[in-house]
Amino acid sequence: MYGFEALTFNIHGGYLEAIVRGHRAGLLTAADYNNLCQCETLDDIKMHLSATEYGPYLQNEPSPLHTTTVVEKCTLKLVDEYKSMLCQATEPLSTFLEYITYGHMIDNVVLIVTGTLHERDVQELLEKCHPLGMFDSIATLAVAQNMRELYRLVLVDTPLAPYFSECITSEDLDDMNIEIMRNTLYKAYLEDFYRFCQKLGGATAEIMSDLLAFEADRRAVNITINSIGTELTRDDRRKLYSNFGLLYPYGHEELAVSEDIDQVRAVMEKYPPYQSIFSKLSYGESQMLDKAFYEEEVKRLCLAFEQQFHYAVFFAYMRLREQEIRNLMWISECVAQNQKSRVHDSVVFIF
């Protein structure tokens, strides 16, 4: 019932919306980032973070700190918040919240499979997995030799199972088809999430379709750029694009045949929202593209908080926190490696 969410939304969603907005108020501000960027050691960072919501998570860490510890603890905070929200949530919000983690699940699956392919230790790989994308039998992934086994053994029990229908083959796993699997899964995931949000209707559908379309388009661009110069055929490339978003369908046709970054740029500049992103980059450059996309994404995510009575705030909050953790990781890494001049290269201010 679009326009009438205000009547009924608060019955089930009101409490959690308040909670998530409270969490959002705890995001680091530009002033915090400025202070963090001036830090000399990781201890300084810890000291500064002790005044923020991360304080309780870092205060018991002994002093020679590592970047991984900082990131791990900050992620732990996000996971704790997520879990408590999920506990409180009722349908359909709980399903919505679960959808948010599927992306991490896909990444974890790919991480483990690639890792075992290169004969890395499973426990070590498990520690690298994002805690939000964990599922019970994730470690068993190491047993699988090909896609079919992967599906039959493990993934059939997970929410990812339906996304797998496209990529069940008996070929042995290698780097190339793992990457294709990742993108196929992601495509199916985004489309499913998109459909789910449309079904929810109202402001959730409106805002989420915008955010997911952006995500889909960004992936399309990244797939195109990464597949330039590989043996991936145009048709195969075309198949990896999600079937929605601003670029669908005509932009996809053009992206599929693009052979270098400048052609991609020419395609994208036809779309006004992306024009501004590409206009920041000089020709032939793709290094800063990620940051430009992140900045645009953060802007859109922040806008999600301007409306009330919808679920997109949860998605936006999770994404913003993840961006914040990425920022913290970059800053800590720069500080730890004495590369302070590069601090600003990859930090995306949230406010």
């Binding site: 000291m47 500064h48 499973v122 068993t140 086994e149 039959r152 493990v154």
Partner: protein
């Protein structure tokens, strides 16, 4: 602070005169001086480095060190908690341990403790592993014979069947078996181990899928939870045995076991070996046990010694951290040899502070003494009342509404009496009052015992307000006597409301009229008090505007309407007149010129009424309009004169800075002032003291319902059981509804009458509290 009791001269009406002081302390004695000031607890430091982030400040390194020490202490506390030890609170023997030594000691202890923990963890893990092994051996030992038995049974059955009928298909199969069996001679491998019970089903499923069903898995439940060697936690587990064939399957199973954290243990096939293994493992276990026990004892001893010193260290570290926190707020002077502090202190504390600074200089052998001098400022000083344990709770009630502006009249003084009194007007019953008094006296008597310990949420609240409740109880006993209420029984004594009224048809109309009129009188009295206080405030702050355009019209308005009503009530009570006061008041507005006829109470009443009405009508615009306009004019004048004034002051940089600061905040917004004034005027008219009557009525009615309908009804049955049930219900209702709920509601309404009806007449409440740097608050804040 000032726990000196009532003999100390307390100036509760106006907050303590404060001064902004500057301390110039040589660096070498700064730590000492700040520490002594913390003991004194009468100086509020201002943050002079507000623009610097925490790690850019002077003493950031020391703060970090303190943070490290605090972390170590937290680690010890956690370890002690795990061990079930409590840090002993009685260990305040002060030793002369200085900070560096403490830091070294804490570091030593931490590394030692961590080492001990790591060792014992390793041992524990080995122990747990062996224990698991033992369990596996025992359980698996049951499997094998069982399997053997069923195998032989099957064999026998099969043979019997084979002998019985030679059907068409069986020979073929049999032949095949015969052929395949000896050649391949299925080399069945087996794994035994433990898998967490919650994962066991998934484990089985995955095994089945991965090997396409070509395994034999048997599980057995272990009744008691087992300690997991890796995580060290207690987990419910199952013992499993897997039989498989083939190398590939073996690898797969190994990987799956690893993924499920299923610990595998080798089990020998034949029974004799198994028994031997069990024996060996048991021996090893008992050996390990003694080693572990020794380690644990050592650890417990160590924690015991830590525990005996823990509180002392904790407070030392907290103090140190607090001191550096304060030192970080100070700025350097030009020579970089002294630290400059600014802050507020009460005027009476000047000599104490100077003495403390001198002591610091002496104790640190500093060449130069610290300097204390008073700064002049236009900033508003913080508000500081010296309260004691009795007045504190009442002051809290006022502070909850808003902290008094510096030196403005403090309603807390009057609240001490008026609050319990208004409460008692609503809660008048001396029976209930005595119950309340007894309950609160218990808290007052046990004060010493309770004040040291942590109480629950509600108990804490009651304990904090014990003196308020005591006063409320005393006053309700008094009003109860006046109302002649004792659990609604209506005893007879020679004053107060005549008990003859009790139970008559006219009881309610009589009491209503009495209580309503009484409420009006009390309300008018309290509001007048409030307005008079606003006069004293205006006079104190030399604000003529408030006297002429707020105090005077308010006084006129209130007294020409409600004051007049009070007058009529008193005259009516004194003369016993039959006049209808509603009628008088209503027609005073509707048709003031009409003849009063039988409602006339005194001569010249009509004339007086017309004059009062005119005055009241005139007072409303008088209250509403002139003040904002005059304020605006004043502001504009000040604005003009300011540009000239600046030039004169320019030689004193500090002074002008402060001037500018304070002026910046005073942007004048006319609309806001008008709205504010309007709200003030409306609030003024909407006083609602009739709640006094309503709640008092509700209380007495409720108590009479419980008395008549429960106790008397039960009495009437002439049966002991019914009577006992009746008494139980009566007691529960009295305690639950009348003593708890009614107390809360009367408290709430008294609170409203004070905050809204009384305080808004004069109280600005936009000050901020004096928050001195003091060590006394350290002890009770636990993270």
């Amino acid at each position: 602070m000032g726990d000196g009791g009532c003999c100390q001269t307390m100036d509760l009406l106006r907050s303590e005169p404060m001064q902004l002081a500057q301390l110039i302390i040589p660096i070498e004695s700064a730590h000492c001086a700040v520490s002594y000031l913390g003991d004194l607890g009468l100086f509020q430091f201002k943050d002079l480095n507000a623009d610097k982030s925490p790690f850019q400040r002077t003493y950031a390194a020391q703060m970090k060190r303190c943070g490290e020490m605090a972390r170590k202490l937290r680690f010890f506390r956690e370890q002690m908690k795990m061990e079930g030890l409590l840090p002993s609170t009685k260990s305040y023997r002060s030793n002369d341990l200085d900070m560096d030594m403490l830091e070294a000691k804490l570091g030593e202890l931490e590394t030692e403790l961590i080492e001990i923990n790591a060792n014992s963890e390793k041992l524990q893990s080995t122990y747990a592993e062996l224990l698991e092994y033992k369990i596996v051996l025992q359980k698996a030992g049951e499997f094998f014979p069982l399997a053997q038995r069923s195998a032989t049974a099957q064999q026998r059955e099969f043979e019997a069947q084979h002998m019985g009928d030679g059907s068409i298909d069986s020979p073929l199969l049999l032949e095949q078996e015969m052929i395949t069996d000896p050649s391949k001679q299925v080399k069945l491998g087996s794994f035994t181990g433990l898998v967490p019970r919650e994962k066991s089903i998934a484990f089985e499923r995955i095994l089945f899928r991965a090997t396409r069903g070509n395994v034999f898995l048997k599980q057995a439940v272990i009744e008691d939870p087992v300690i997991d060697p890796i995580s060290g936690e207690k987990v419910d587990k199952n013992v499993f045995v897997i039989f498989y064939s083939g190398e590939r399957t073996k690898n797969k199973i190994l990987k799956i076991c690893e993924a499920f954290r299923a610990n595998r243990y080798p089990v020998a096939d034949d029974m004799a070996r198994q028994y031997q293994m069990i024996r060996e493992v048991s021996e090893k276990l008992s050996e390990l046990k003694t080693t572990i026990d020794v380690g644990l004892l050592h650890r417990a001893n160590m924690l015991q010694t830590i525990g005996s010193q823990f509180e002392l260290w904790n407070i030392m570290v907290k103090k140190e951290k607090y001191i550096y926190h304060v030192l970080n707020m100070l700025s350097f002077d030009v020579t970089k040899k002294c630290l400059v502090a600014e802050g507020w202190c009460p005027v009476f504390a000047t000599s104490q502070i100077q003495k403390v600074l001198q002591r610091a200089t002496l104790d640190c052998n500093s060449q130069v003494g610290a300097i204390f001098h008073v700064l002049h400022t236009e900033e508003f000083p913080p508000t500081y009342f010296r309260t004691n344990k009795f007045t504190n709770a009442f002051q809290e009630i006022v502070d909850a509404y808003g902290v008094a502006k510096y030196q403005e009249a403090n309603p807390g003084v009057y609240t001490i009496i008026t609050f319990p009194f208004l409460f008692a007007v609503m809660f008048g019953d001396w029976g209930h009052g005595i119950c309340l008094l007894l309950a609160t006296l218990y808290f007052v008597m046990q004060e010493k015992k309770f004040s040291g310990q942590k109480l629950g949420d509600i108990t804490e609240m009651i304990f904090g307000g014990r003196y308020i409740i005591m006063m409320m109880a005393v006053f309700s006993i008094y009003t109860g006597f006046i109302y002649n209420e004792f659990f609604s029984v209506g005893p007879t004594y020679p004053f107060g409301v005549d008990p003859k009224w009790h139970g008559t048809r006219t009881e309610l109309p009589f009491l209503n009229s009495l209580k309503m009129k009484m409420s009006i009188l009390l309300g008018v009295a309290q509001m007048n008090l409030g307005i008079v206080l606003s006069y004293y405030n205006a006079k104190f702050f030399k604000n003529d505007l408030n006297i002429w355009y707020q105090f005077v019209p308010q006084m006129i308005f209130l007294n020409s309407l409600f004051g007049y009503l009070s007058l009529l009530i008193i005259i009516k009570w004194c003369t016993g007149s039959q006049a209808d006061l509603y009628h008088v008041m209503i027609y005073m507005f509707l048709s003031p010129t009409d003849d009063l006829r039988e409602n006339q109470l005194f001569v010249g009443q009509k004339f007086l009424q017309i004059i009062l009405l005119l005055l009241a009508i005139a007072a409303v615009p008088w209250m509403l309009f002139p003040k904002p306009f005059l304020l605006k004019k004043q502001h504009e004048e000040r604005h003009q004169s300011r540009s000239y004034a600046l030039l004169h002051n320019i030689d004193d940089p500090l002074e002008t800075d402060l001037h500018e600061d304070s002026h910046d905040h005073k942007e004048f917004e006319f609309g806001e002032v008008i709205v504010h004034q309007l709200i003030h005027t409306i609030e003024f008219v909407l006083a609602s003291y009739l709640r006094l009557w309503a709640l008092s009525l509700a209380h007495s009615e409720l108590s009479s319902v419980f008395y008549d309908k429960v106790l008397l009804l039960a009495w009437g049955f002439n049966s002991i059981i019914v009577l006992i049930v009746g008494i139980i219900i009566f007691v529960c209702a009295t305690v639950g509804v009348l003593l708890v709920m009614e107390t809360l509601s009367a408290f709430l309404h008294a609170l409203r009458l004070h905050w809204v009806e009384f305080q808004n007449k004069f109280y600005e409440g936009d000050g901020y509290k004096f928050f001195p740097f003091s060590f006394t608050s350290i002890q009770d804040d636990e993270e």
